[in-house]
């Protein structure tokens, strides 16, 4: 029974870790399917995390914080769009610029506004954070190991953003495969000229994709600072944006496989926390760092075609110009 509890708790932790990854990966899916490499997930998330925490601190409302995070992230996304779509700049360069700029700007503003050495104050008051929602009878069900504990730990007891993220996967799939916008979005990432000659504006499509990406990334960032923890700290994304990108690649740019990849990566993370210093039978102590590096190693193996093959959208990374 001990092991069972452990596993359930591990899975619950997996869900919490997976949420921001999933939101960011879905964000990346929209921009990358439209043909814009989204290495800026990291910076957009970080910017959103700061904005959400700052606004929540000042206004006392987590919802306003979430809105501020989304607006910030969308603004950064549009900046990326300006550079990559309008001015046809190098997409990788533009994304690195955003990441580095936000990495400096967020702690600078935090220092100037809150004077806490680059972080925001602890969010303690009610309503400043998204707190866990306990489902009916969850407490009572907890005593019954199966299925009660699954209900109370896995389904119940998460904050609203987690449920939102879960809903967003089928929504994203539906938008991508069942709507006119989705068809055009997929087309513009594969062959923008075909879209242009079909009388659709490549620029507008890509900007719309960037806005969606910004919005989703904003939710991911807000989750970090006003849901998963209470306040912004320096460099709090800690590579989650890149990890999300890896999950997106691992999921071959498709919604459901990306969900699976996010859960897998989150599981390794949760496992690493659990296994810290624990000696396992047979293997002994597994270095935590190895488990943490596992998602990156797996993604590299996948990209190299050693495990399956990931095919990126054809026109990804290339600015569209009628002249060519």
């Amino acid at each position: 029974m001990e092991t069972y509890t452990l596993i359930v708790l591990l899975l619950a932790a997996t869900i919490r870790v997976a949420t921001p990854l999933l939101l960011a990966a879905l964000a990346g899916m929209f921009s990358e399917r439209a043909g814009v490499i989204d290495l800026a997930l990291e910076g957009k998330m970080l910017g959103a995390a700061f904005a959400a925490a700052a606004v929540s601190t000042v206004t006392g409302s987590a919802w306003l914080g979430l809105a501020a995070g989304m607006v910030t992230s969308i603004a950064l996304s549009l900046l990326l769009g300006l550079a990559c779509v309008t001015y046809r700049g190098n997409q990788v360069v533009a994304a690195m610029a955003v990441n580095i700029m936000v990495g400096g700007l967020a702690p600078t503003l935090a220092l100037a506004w809150f004077n806490l050495g680059g972080q925001t104050p602890q969010l303690e008051a009610a309503g400043q954070r998204f707190t866990e929602i306990t489902w009916p009878w969850a407490k009572a069900a907890h005593v019954v190991p199966f299925p009660g504990m699954l209900y109370s730990e896995l389904l119940s007891g998460h904050n609203v953003v987690v449920y939102l993220a879960a809903l967003l996967v089928p929504t994203a799939a539906w938008v991508l495969y069942r709507t006119r916008f989705g068809l055009r979005l997929r087309a513009v990432g594969e062959n923008p000229q075909a879209v242009d000659t079909a009388g659709i504006s490549v620029t507008m499509l890509r900007y719309r994709a960037m806005i969606i990406s910004g919005a989703l990334c904003g939710i991911a960032g807000a989750y970090l600072s006003v849901a998963a923890s209470s306040g912004f700290v320096r460099d709090m994304t800690a590579g989650k944006g890149y990890l999300a990108l890896a999950a997106l690649i691992f999921g071959k740019w498709r919604p459901y496989p990306t969900l699976v990849a996010c859960l897998l990566f989150a599981f390794t993370d949760a496992l690493a926390v659990r296994l810290q210093g624990v000696s396992l039978p047979v293997i002994g102590v597994v270095p935590v760092q190895f488990i943490l590096a596992l998602p990156y190693i797996l993604t590299i193996l996948l990209l190299a075609g050693f495990v399956g093959r990931a095919r990126a959208p054809d026109a990804i990374g290339v600015a569209y110009s009628k002249e060519k």
Partner: protein, 516 residues
């Protein structure tokens, strides 16, 4: 001429009036005006660079004209984007298909006219309508097949269906036959006639005289950005059109003495090439090239000629076969292009800008491409810039390259001068065998003659030249012996004396294609 009487009553389907367009210093369209009658097949013919595509891109809203107006059915229209063109009833099939490769045919066709924000309903309706269209015009395609799995001919049908589904009354087809086999071309013409008979207007853009004569009702000829003639097809002849296209009597023959072939220099045996999908691109190719002869390779573009050049030059490894050159089997020894050059096998590639040069480098840097470790270009571990510049200057004089500035970026030279630089590089090192692809593509007439003379001079010096060209005139003018390729095979060999356009045409169409 169908429905002549009714067509006369209708206003012209499309009219261009004084269309003018400059790109920087290039005057691409000079006051272009012509009229396309409704319900006709109208030809627009001209050499590469005559401004046909520019005019059509303006009609389709891809570019905006600096001056002039466009009339559709007698009414002036403002076309600022492909959307406007579609709304005006104009559809265009580009030379390079505008298809999303991993979409189904159906998805490609409805892209942009999905019929509502949700796909399901629109797709159902579209499927019905497309099945009807397919029957009406003989344009059936498997709607649910993924586009990249369709043959080129079927992909072209998808493109045409795309236009028809958008209710296009005027269809612009840009070089539609470049990718088709002769048999597919026949079917294609049948389909065009059917479209015309059902009242559609077709504007066929091409540089092939034969097609103009075979299918069009009227033809507009463009040269150097301007319309130089507009005639009824019935009242003209290929010769007359050709003269109008180039602006003077065409040189059909190059001055040269009869060939005196010597020993075999290059011997190709059973070469086979497959692409990444495993489709055979070159099947069982075998031939010999002798000293002192030019062997021409004729064929519709895309029938294995490019692969042949790539395999011979070493840019691609064949699946099997032998290439005997001097004492070595180039295939078995897996020699790369650089090693082959050292043995005396030079190569002027088909696509100069993509393959043969680095556009951002200076002329002199380009002249050592492939020869960068020759002793006279190096001093110890360093490149000898002075020697390279001096060598470049000499070649610029010898090959009449202008401007004579070795340090100038290659992209700043005109197409003809770029080609002369490539020819200079590959010919000047006196190779034993020169492989040359489309030597005069995109090159002005003066440079064409110069390049042809150089090739003949190389032959007369006892070297072997393998000439791949899609221009039949060029093959007939230069070659001493002609190989014809179709569907990846060498389907026939003709001596210059027995070769005629008709014979080559039959072979290109795969008539004698045995053992496929």
């Amino acid at each position: 001429m169908t429905a002549d009487s009714s067509a006369a009553l209708r206003s012209p389907a499309l009219e261009l009036r004084g269309i003018d367009k400059r790109f920087g210093t290039v005057h691409a369209n000079r006051a272009v005006s012509f009229v396309v009658k409704a319900g006709s097949v109208h030809g627009l013919i001209g050499e590469n660079g005559a401004g046909k595509s520019t005019a059509m891109n303006i009609v389709y809203g891809f570019h905006r004209a600096d001056a002039g107006e466009i009339l559709v059915n007698g009414r002036p229209v403002q076309i600022h984007s492909p959307q406007d063109a579609i709304a005006a009833g104009i559809g265009m099939v580009h030379q390079h298909f505008m298809l999303v490769e991993n979409f189904t045919a159906l998805e490609n066709i409805v892209l942009g006219v999905e019929g509502g924000p949700l796909l399901a309903k629109g797709l159902r309706r579209a499927r019905k309508e497309l099945e009807q269209l397919g029957r009406d015009y003989g344009l059936e395609v498997p709607l649910d097949a993924v586009t990249e799995t369709l043959s080129v001919g079927l992909q072209q049908r998808v493109e045409i269906l795309k236009a028809l589904y958008r209710k296009a009354e005027i269809l612009i087809l840009d070089e539609p036959t470049a990718v088709l086999t002769p048999r597919e071309v026949d079917q294609f013409f049948l389909m065009l006639r059917r479209l015309r008979d059902q009242g559609k207007t077709v504007l066929l853009v091409t540089h092939k005289l034969r097609e103009i004569m075979a299918i069009t009702d009227r033809v507009t000829v463009m040269r150097q950005g301007a319309v130089v003639a507009e005639v009824e097809t019935e009242t003209t002849s290929p010769r007359e059109l050709a003269e109008k296209m180039v602006g003077r009597a065409v040189l059909l023959k190059v001055d040269k003495k009869p060939a005196q072939p010597g020993g075999v220099l290059l011997s190709v045996r059973n070469i086979e090439v497959r692409d990444q999908h495993g489709v055979a691109r070159l099947k069982n190719a075998s031939f010999d090239l002798r000293a002192g002869e030019i062997v021409g390779v004729a064929g519709v573009a895309g029938n294995g000629q490019s692969e042949l050049l790539e395999v011979l030059s070493g840019m691609r490894q064949p699946m099997r076969g032998e290439i005997l050159f001097g004492d070595s089997d180039l295939v078995a020894e897996r020699l790369d292009p650089h090693q082959r050059r050292k043995l005396g096998l030079a190569h002027v590639p088909e696509d100069r800008l993509k393959v043969g040069v680095v556009a951002g480098f200076s002329a002199q840097s380009n002249l050592i491409l492939g020869y960068q470790d020759r002793a006279d270009f190096n001093r110890g571990v360093f490149l000898d810039d002075r020697a390279i510049a001096v060598d470049c200057e000499r070649k610029m004089v010898d090959y009449d390259v202008r401007p004579r500035l070795p340090a100038l970026r290659l992209s700043a030279f005109s197409g003809g001068n770029q080609q002369k630089l490539v020819i200079a590089r590959e010919v000047d090192c006196t190779p034993k065998v020169l492989l040359v692809g489309q030597p005069t593509r995109g090159v002005d007439i003066g440079a064409i003659e110069f390049i042809h003379q150089r090739l003949v001079a190389l032959r007369d010096a006892g070297k072997g030249v393998l000439l791949v060209s899609v221009e039949l005139d060029e093959i007939l003018g230069l070659a001493d012996r002609i190989l014809v390729m179709a569907a990846g095979e060498i389907v026939g060999e003709l001596s210059r004396e027995e070769a005629t356009e008709e014979k080559i045409g039959l072979l290109m169409a795969g008539v004698k294609g045995a053992g496929a």
